[in-house]
Amino acid sequence: MTDRANVITVKNISKTYHLGEIQVRALREVSLEIRQGDFLVVTGRNGSGKSTLLYQLGLLDRPEKGEIDFNGTEVIRLSDKHRRDLRLKKIGYIFQNYALIAELTALENVMLPAMMLISPLEAKKRAVDLMEKVGLSHRINHLTKRLSGGEQQKVAIARALVNDPQLIIADEPTANLDSIAAKDVMTIFQTLNQKDGHTIVMVTHEQEETVYANRTITLHDGAIV
């Protein structure tokens, strides 16, 4: 065991999707602890509940049962307002499909969440630094639709980092990328974790990406195996 503090403690959460008459139990009594500085990789087959677990950890969805403790605060029954506040300040979420705003440039996409907390000028400065960090300083003024998949994912990573979150959640961030871009992205995650001490939870299908992690869990039919 380690003496690092828990960022998230998940206790017996369950989630069921209702598809018409059919009920799909996406998560079954899942319990999990994520400690400060962890690089946790979640693996499993399609439909095993990996993404569903990330949505609960990222406060994008609520489980029906169980508890999620984020830094000592129980977040499942927290109001939408407080959960949004936590998403903004404490969690950086990276989607598989990048989820960038098409009408904004790479820089503007990154600075947008920061503008909720600081002035546009400061947000811009912070975004420029992050774009440099992910190796995209030459593409800051490009609209995201003009960027490659790998570049878009780097923009999404920079956006996730802009408010200096405690937890970074990445849902199959390399799924749509070629092997070179995927390696680039994984190197960034490794740096964020090992050099900057960010806590990362990442879902992947790629077995070779588990080498970047210091912890791995596997889900099967909604349960950790």
């Binding site: 705003i101 098409a102 503008m115 909720m116 002035s119 546009p120």
Partner: protein, 400 residues
């Protein structure tokens, strides 16, 4: 808190600048069409009503007319009364008229039309019949055997009431006027066409001609028509005339309008009805267009929520965006209205039996309709944005 309020403007500017230009133009065009539809129908009906009213005032009754006191046939001492009327504040001009119980005969056709004896100079200041001559010329005060007749009396091919007219009398031809057993030959000096059918069934001779035919009518009037300086102050002027000692029975043009008043009142009602329908159609059209536009941004809204942007800021973004659409739409609509439609219909008015109708746009109507379009657009933006910021975040993000 203050920082975050900049976000909607930050986003709107970029959405407008970098969004789909065709969508932007289409929405603005539809807004402009909805705006024009609202303004056009109202303006057309206002134009018809205004045209009818102007015709009554300018060719028929003036703003105010005075008839003899009840039980009397004439207004005596007409010259004196005219002087008193002219001296009254608010009066621009006055003309004494004598309606004659006369008949006109041309070749073998005759009929009873309104034959009116006037002082041509004074009449010119009150009505604009003099400016509506289509053949020949207007009366001069010295004309004693000249008559001018309306198009509906002269008749001819294409004339609305040709069957009851002289069926083609022309300038220079002779007509016979019969009054109380006396007859006098007149030469048709001119034919006028005011496009107001009641006026076009009138004929005018000079006071001088009447004095030669029947001296008993000297210095009397059956009617005095008055033009005032400011339309709308008719009652005020009537009060002043009465205070000034002018006697008679006073009527404003609205009192005399008769059938025309019924017609214009009907137009006002139809206008109100069509405006209500127009408002409904504009509201529904704008709502559908904006609703579809905002609903297509469902995923974008979901992402904005996911990254922590407050719902009220997201809603404000789309409300501001639709407000901008509506302002551009109204501006385009105004451009089309004032740059094309109004000049076009001024040059090519709608020709109606009551006169030529152009588009009469009132600033009050324009402001009301502009506000209406903007409010409908804002509501149309707010409702879908509100709904999408309330649906499950994952459903919005993944467009489920």
């Amino acid at each position: 808190m203050i920082q975050e309020t900049k976000i909607p403007f930050f986003l709107v500017w970029r959405f407008l600048k970098r969004g789909n230009k065709w969508t932007f133009l289409l929405i603005i065009f539809l807004m402009a069409i909805a705006f024009i539809n609202l303004v056009f129908i109202t303006s057309l009906f206002s134009g018809i009503v205004e045209s009818a009213n102007s015709q009554i005032i300018d060719t028929y009754t003036g703003h105010v007319s005075i008839s003899p006191v009840e039980g009397e046939k004439f207004i005596p001492h007409a010259t004196e009364e005219i002087s008193r009327i002219d001296a009254t504040p608010g009066v621009e001009a006055a003309s004494a008229q004598v309606f004659l119980p006369a008949s006109l005969t041309y070749k073998n056709r005759s009929g009873n039309w309104s034959v009116i004896a006037i002082d041509p100079a004074a009449e010119k200041e009150v009505t604009n019949v003099a400016a509506k001559m289509t053949a020949g010329s207007y009366l001069d005060p010295a004309d004693t055997d000249q008559i001018i007749i309306g198009r509906q009396i002269a008749g001819g091919e294409g004339v609305e009431m040709n069957a009851f007219s002289f069926k083609g009398a022309t300038v220079g031809e002779r007509v016979t006027l019969s009054l109380n057993g006396q007859t006098k030959e007149f030469t048709i000096k001119g034919i006028f066409y005011t496009k107001f059918i009641d006026t076009d069934q009138r004929a005018f001779i000079t006071r001088g001609a009447l004095n030669e035919l029947a001296p008993t009518y000297d210095d009397v009037a059956t009617n005095i028509v008055i033009r005032i300086t400011t339309k709308g102050e008719e009652q005020l002027v009537v009060d002043r005339l009465q205070k000034n000692g002018v006697t008679g029975t006073f009527y404003t043009w609205k009192d005399v309008a008769g059938l025309m008043a019924t017609v214009t009142n009907s137009f006002v009602l139809i206008n109100a009805l069509l405006t209500s329908v127009g408002i409904l159609i504009a509201a529904v059209t704008i709502f559908i267009v904006i609703y579809i536009d905002i609903s297509s941004k469902r995923q974008q809204i979901g992402v904005l929520r996911a990254i922590g942007i407050k719902s009220y800021l997201i809603r404000s973004t789309y409300v501001i965006q639709t407000a901008v659409y509506s302002v551009f739409g109204v501006l385009l609509g105004l451009g089309i209205l004032f740059g094309f439609l109004i000049p076009y219909f001024n040059a090519h008015p709608f020709q109606l039996p009551i006169g030529d109708a152009t588009l009469a746009v009132s600033s009050v109507d324009l402001i009301f309709r502009t506000e209406l379009i903007i409010w409908v657009a804002i509501l149309s933006g707010l409702i879908p944005a509100f709904i999408i910021t309330r649906v499950k975040m994952l459903d919005a993000i993944f467009n489920r």
